[in-house]
């Protein structure tokens, strides 16, 4: 009985200058194979100039059920948005 391969999360830089973005995941025995598989699966149509792979179980995330609680604070801080301040149009760009 062979061992099940770990899951890897794949991040791709679509164009030079942009950040890597998560595009999906795949199974592979190690990081190098994950990179090669990611290239073959996720960039067949020239979707990227760079790939990062991260083992899925290395990713730490908040409990999705606690999202409302975790992200509530900024909701009341409307002044963090520039539109909060009413700048008359004739003042010019700001």
């Amino acid at each position: 009985m062979s061992k099940e391969w770990p899951l890897w999360e794949i991040f791709i830089r679509g164009q030079h200058g942009l950040s890597h973005r998560h595009v999906g995941s795949l199974h592979a025995p190690d990081a190098e194979m994950a990179l090669k598989n990611a290239r073959d699966v996720y960039t067949r149509r020239n979707e990227g100039v760079s790939i990062w792979v991260v083992e899925s179980n290395k990713i730490t995330a908040f409990d999705p059920d606690a999202a409302e609680h975790n992200f509530a604070a900024p909701k009341s801080k409307v002044y963090r948005h520039p539109t909060f301040f009413d700048i008359p149009e004739d003042v010019g760009a700001m």
Binding site: H16, G17, K77, Y79, R80, I87, V91, G92, M94
Partner: protein
């Protein structure tokens, strides 16, 4: 600006360097693992480091007024702004770290006085109106400089700048809003606003760095796509944008030489006192010593806390190993 007088190395013209230059000329971004000339790397470490230090030290003049803001709302807004600056420092330290320097190394350079930060943060904030003037003028000047940096040739720096620029607009607006409220208030309040403008105008113009003819490192930085505009270009843009805003507020810009020049479609204006600028850069401004002392104290006072968090993390790790 936030990085003034950044020294650059010189290109040596090897084949690898020519290829690198061609990449920059094509507008291709350089990433952390790409080959780059040592001079390019060192210039960026210095510039991004100075920029990061400026964001961090820049919290001090405004932090000075958080407990004395005139209303709860103004206090919450100022607190949010200063929090943003801490975040900007963090984005930039991380961008610099991609070039092979550690954050602790950079912090040590700041604390020892070896690394520079923007001259502007060595001036005192004497009244509440200074919170208005700093947001309007200092963040305004910073935005003027940072918008073109979003197109900087180094990817991690350019991406940090994109994030920062998005957040900066609130800073300038809240400052202008303070000025506007003061200018529409009593005579005393308006006089406070005028006094703040008088004190912050020239230091704000100095933020863009010395005049182009005295700016020895600009040329190489422009060639490398680290810098997009000359100091004088940005200073002119800032004056052209800001003078009408001062007029709108009913304030007088403290420059007798300021005059609209129809032919060039911009203002003529006086020369900042560059001897003052170089003194401040050398460490002899009104608040240089205070600023460094405050940063050193914060670092020293925080040591037990950093150590505590590290000890906790190590304990957790051992706990997890034991549980496996």
């Amino acid at each position: 600006m936030y990085a003034q007088l950044v020294e650059t190395g010189q290109s040596e013209g090897t084949e690898q360097e020519l290829e690198f230059q061609a990449k920059i000329d094509r507008g291709v971004r350089i990433e952390a693992n790409d080959w780059m000339p040592e001079g390019y790397r060192k210039t960026l470490i210095r510039q991004i480091g100075q920029h990061a230090h400026s964001e961090i030290v820049g919290q001090l003049p405004e932090g000075n007024w958080i407990t004395r803001a005139p209303s709860l709302q103004r206090k919450a807004i100022l607190l949010a702004k200063v929090q943003d600056e801490a975040g900007h420092g963090l984005y930039l330290y991380c961008a610099a770290e991609t070039l092979g320097i550690s954050r602790d190394e950079m912090t040590a350079q700041l604390l020892s006085g070896k690394a520079k930060y923007s001259s502007i943060f060595n001036y005192p904030t004497l009244t509440w109106a200074d919170m208005g003037a700093v947001g309007w003028l200092v963040d305004g000047a910073a935005i003027m400089n940072q918008v073109p940096l979003q197109r900087c040739s180094y990817g991690p720096y350019s991406r940090a700048m994109i994030r920062i620029c998005k957040e900066e607009s609130f800073h300038q607006r809240q400052g202008f809003d303070i000025m506007r409220q003061l200018c529409q208030g009593t005579d005393d309040q308006k006089a406070m606003a005028q006094d703040a403008l008088n004190r912050w105008w020239w230091p704000s113009l100095m933020m863009f760095g010395p005049s182009d003819k005295d700016s020895v490192h600009s040329e190489q930085s422009m060639k490398w796509g680290i810098k997009q505009n000359t100091n004088d270009e940005l200073r002119q843009k800032f004056v052209d944008q800001t003078v009408p805003q001062a007029e709108w507020l009913g304030l007088t810009v403290p420059d007798p030489e300021l005059k609209w020049n129809e032919e060039k479609g911009g203002y003529d204006f006086g020369e900042p006192d560059w001897s003052e600028f170089f003194e401040v850069i050398k460490g002899n401004g009104p608040c240089n010593r205070d600023r460094l002392e405050a940063r050193n104290k914060a670092w020293d006072d925080g040591e037990w806390f950093r150590d505590g968090l590290t000890a906790h993390a190590e304990k957790q790790q051992q706990h997890n190993i034991a549980a496996e």
